[in-house]
């Protein structure tokens, strides 16, 4: 039997209360970033749900991998053999070039390029929220993943880690509206910033002067200036340059090199601390001195 008269809050009061609470949450989460650490815990809490939602897809992949013809396998195998031959030949060249590069770098007194630690990871879910571009991968804090870590596929930069859970983490793609990555044109070294457009096949470059030497088809690679992404990984290819003089800046758009709409396996990178030629020497630590001067002048 339901009570006819009760002293509970009316639905209107509840709604106002909940909306106020939501507004507070939005403010604290977006403007102040107060939930950055708890986001990791929340991510770990919901990861069972994500793994479960992924099982039908995994079953389909398993089925398609197991139900294939012998002919197809033989063809694939042949293709791999040819590829391996090509790659091993390229590898020989690469070792020579690496040695040469290291020698030249020592001559220039630049820091040597060290080998980057890598880890393969698989996507477990793709976000269906059309307002932001994110994916969830099956590596988390247990594997040493950290926030802001660069994520690449076999062709180029894909994004960076946004939130880390224990067994899964969230990747923000370079095409997301809130993402920007420092790049340079491979041909001439001009630096640009590639901002996400909210579309999977577009990056926008803002504030490019009309006189900039940028052409359709130019490859853009990471410049390593932000300190987050390692240098010289391909990011995108310029697809349109509109140098309309009536606008304050040229309109430059590019298309990501990585096939962001059909990624499955990704690589996580652990770049070593100093990798940019442009950055100051590791020993030159100027900050404390500056502080001291300010203190003295007071």
């Amino acid at each position: 039997m339901e009570p006819i008269f009760n002293n509970e809050a009316t639905p209107q009061h509840r709604l106002v209360l909940l909306l106020l609470f939501s507004a507070l949450l939005i403010f604290f989460d977006h403007k102040l970033g107060s939930f950055d650490t708890s986001r990791g815990y929340l991510q770990s809490l919901v990861s069972p749900l994500q793994y479960m939602a992924n099982t039908p897809k995994q079953f389909m992949t398993w089925a398609s991998e197991n139900l294939t013809t012998r002919r197809h396998l033989v063809l694939e195998n042949q293709q791999y053999k040819i590829n391996e031959l090509k790659f091993s030949q390229q590898l020989q060249e690469l070792t020579i070039v690496k040695q040469e590069n290291n020698r030249l770098r020592t001559l220039l007194a630049s820091p040597l390029r060290s080998n980057i630690k890598k880890m393969v990871t698989e996507i477990i879910s793709v976000n269906n929220d059309p307002y932001s571009h994110q994916i969830v991968i099956n590596r988390g804090a247990n594997d040493g993943v950290y926030e802001g870590q660069p994520v690449v596929d076999e062709q180029g930069i894909v994004g960076q880690i946004l939130h880390v859970g224990t067994t899964s983490s969230r990747v923000l793609l370079i095409t997301d509206l809130s993402h920007a990555i420092p790049v340079r044109i491979e041909r001439n070294g001009i630096r640009l910033v590639a901002t996400g457009s909210g579309r999977l096949d577009r990056l926008i470059h803002n504030f490019v002067p009309h006189s900039t030497d940028v052409l359709t088809g130019d490859l853009l690679v990471t410049s390593g200036l932000g300190g987050k992404f390692p240098e010289d990984y391909p990011v995108s290819r310029v697809i349109s340059v509109n140098q309309d003089e009536s606008r304050p800046f040229a309109r430059v758009m590019s298309e990501p090199v990585a096939q962001i709409d059909r990624i499955r396996y990704l690589l996580l990178l652990w770049p070593s601390k100093k990798h940019s030629v442009f950055s100051s020497k590791p020993n030159a630590n100027k900050k404390p001195i500056k502080k001291k001067i300010i203190k003295d002048s007071h």
Binding site: F21, S22, Q50, A53, N127, Q134, G198
Partner: protein, 159 residues
């Protein structure tokens, strides 16, 4: 919530959450119905004493975590939409299946628009008509979801 087979309500809601994050081919993805909204509206109309706007808010919050959007966006729009459906549950219950589907589609449109407005306010996302595609599929899915959920409710005598 747990008495009288109420645990099944939670089960259906979890299933809806899973359906809403299941990976799909990119062409179908834009047409994914608002599963969580459909199931929550059904339960809020069938058992308003068990599923209320608090439940809706919490589901929206979980959706926020699952989708990685700013916390509170989906929660707020879920609460508003379920408030409307729960306030008029006695009227909506008496409509025929297709009339109900139309009303749920309008509620779904409101849900998607509210989410878009908040996202637009936060990050300036441009409006694409594809944000409203889920309304169409929600309209088509509602009668089936309604029949299945009613069958579950009657078979397990959830009340």
């Amino acid at each position: 919530m747990f008495a009288h087979n109420g645990i099944l309500i939670i089960f259906t809601l979890l299933l809806a959450l899973m359906l809403s994050i299941m990976p799909m081919p990119i062409t179908v993805d834009a047409f994914r119905p608002d599963w969580v909204l459909i199931v929550t509206i059904y339960w809020s109309m069938a058992l308003p004493n068990k599923v209320n706007i608090f439940t809706a808010w919490i589901l929206g919050f979980i959706l926020d975590v699952l989708l990685g959007s700013v916390l509170g966006v989906h929660a707020a729009s879920m609460a508003v939409v379920v408030y409307i459906s729960a306030a008029n549950y006695q009227k909506i219950r008496n409509f025929s299946l297709w009339q109900q589907a139309l009303i749920v589609a309008v509620l779904g449109a409101l849900y998607n628009l509210l989410t878009f407005w908040m996202e637009h306010f936060i990050t300036n996302v441009p409006f694409l008509i594809s944000y409203l595609y889920p309304v169409l599929t929600t309209l088509l899915v509602w009668p089936w979801a309604f029949l299945i959920l009613r069958k579950i409710r009657r078979h397990f005598t959830i009340h």
